[in-house]
């Protein structure tokens, strides 16, 4: 799953609220709509986007559709950030050590 698709899905405030509510436990579309200031069709549309990004999943329970959080849904984002920080910190480490050496040399030269 592409990290851009996942972050795009989370870029909408209402979708983030739906996502956050589902993190606390499964809910039907009706239950989700009840607790929010948006219409049921709007909630359905948001769920569709979240499902396409594999952030949520659904199952049938009688006539209702119950939505649940996908525990590994944010993995692509974690993986991307992990890579960003690996690179940034490696460069930071090199820069800090270069600066430390430069200062030690400068101090030595001043004696």
């Amino acid at each position: 799953m592409n990290v851009d698709v996942v972050l795009d899905a989370l870029s909408d405030r209402t979708r983030r609220q739906v996502f956050d509510r589902l993190r606390r436990g499964p809910l039907s579309v009706g239950e989700l709509a009840d607790g929010m200031a948006v219409s049921r069709p709007a909630v359905s549309q948001h769920l569709k986007v979240l499902k396409a990004a594999r952030l949520v999943a659904d199952r049938a329970e009688g006539t209702k559709r119950i939505y649940t959080i996908e525990p590994r849904g944010l993995d692509p984002v974690r993986k991307w950030l992990d890579g960003v920080w690996d690179e940034a910190l490696a460069r930071f480490q090199a820069a800090a050590e270069r600066e430390a050496k430069r200062e030690t040399k400068a101090k030595g030269a001043n004696r």
Partner: protein
């Protein structure tokens, strides 16, 4: 309060640097432009020539383009020189700025002997990605919002008995 699940809520990195705590802090903050991978990780349309962390709480964390324009990455939440830095991260995967997509990065600088510093980084809030922040904003955006809250506070303060109000100012 739910228990913290480190693997879900946050990622952690540790690097030990052959530099004093003071140098490590200074290079991380003052000199971020010298090491941040600007070529690959920038959000402005023009090439980025510098990255800056404004040295105070509330300060911006941003990149500067070759045309002088700036693009914000986030803000400083905690500024404790040589010890601790907490920044918000408001950047998406295609390196666009989105203040709604807010997570936090905490960096701690711990002395590990003379000329050695352990730098610990935690990027957290990954489980919610600004959902809670959005909820809070929702409260303030609702009918009344900040204005309503302030008016309510002023009304209560005005109605308070003289002795209470007096005590509050001493």
């Amino acid at each position: 309060m739910s228990e913290r699940q480190e693997s879900k809520d946050s990622l952690r990195k540790v690097v030990t640097v052959a530099a004093s705590q003071e140098v490590a802090w200074r290079v991380f903050t003052d000199d971020i432009g010298s090491w941040w991978p600007l070529a690959t990780h920038k959000i402005g349309r023009v090439a980025a020539v510098d990255a800056v962390i404004e040295p105070r709480v509330g300060g911006r964390w941003f990149e500067r383009g070759e045309d002088g324009s700036t693009c914000t990455w986030g803000r400083v939440l905690v500024w404790e020189p040589t010890d601790r830095l907490v920044l918000t991260w408001e950047i998406t995967a295609d390196w666009a700025h989105d203040p709604e997509l807010r997570t936090e990065v905490e960096i701690r600088f711990i002395s590990a002997g003379a000329g050695s510093t352990r730098v610990e980084l935690e990027h957290r809030g990954l489980d919610a990605f600004g959902a809670r922040a959005a909820e809070m904003r929702g409260i303030f955006d609702s009918e009344g919002g900040w204005t309503g809250l302030l008016q309510g506070f002023v009304a209560r303060a005005d109605r308070a008995p003289r002795t209470e109000a007096h005590a509050a100012t001493t």
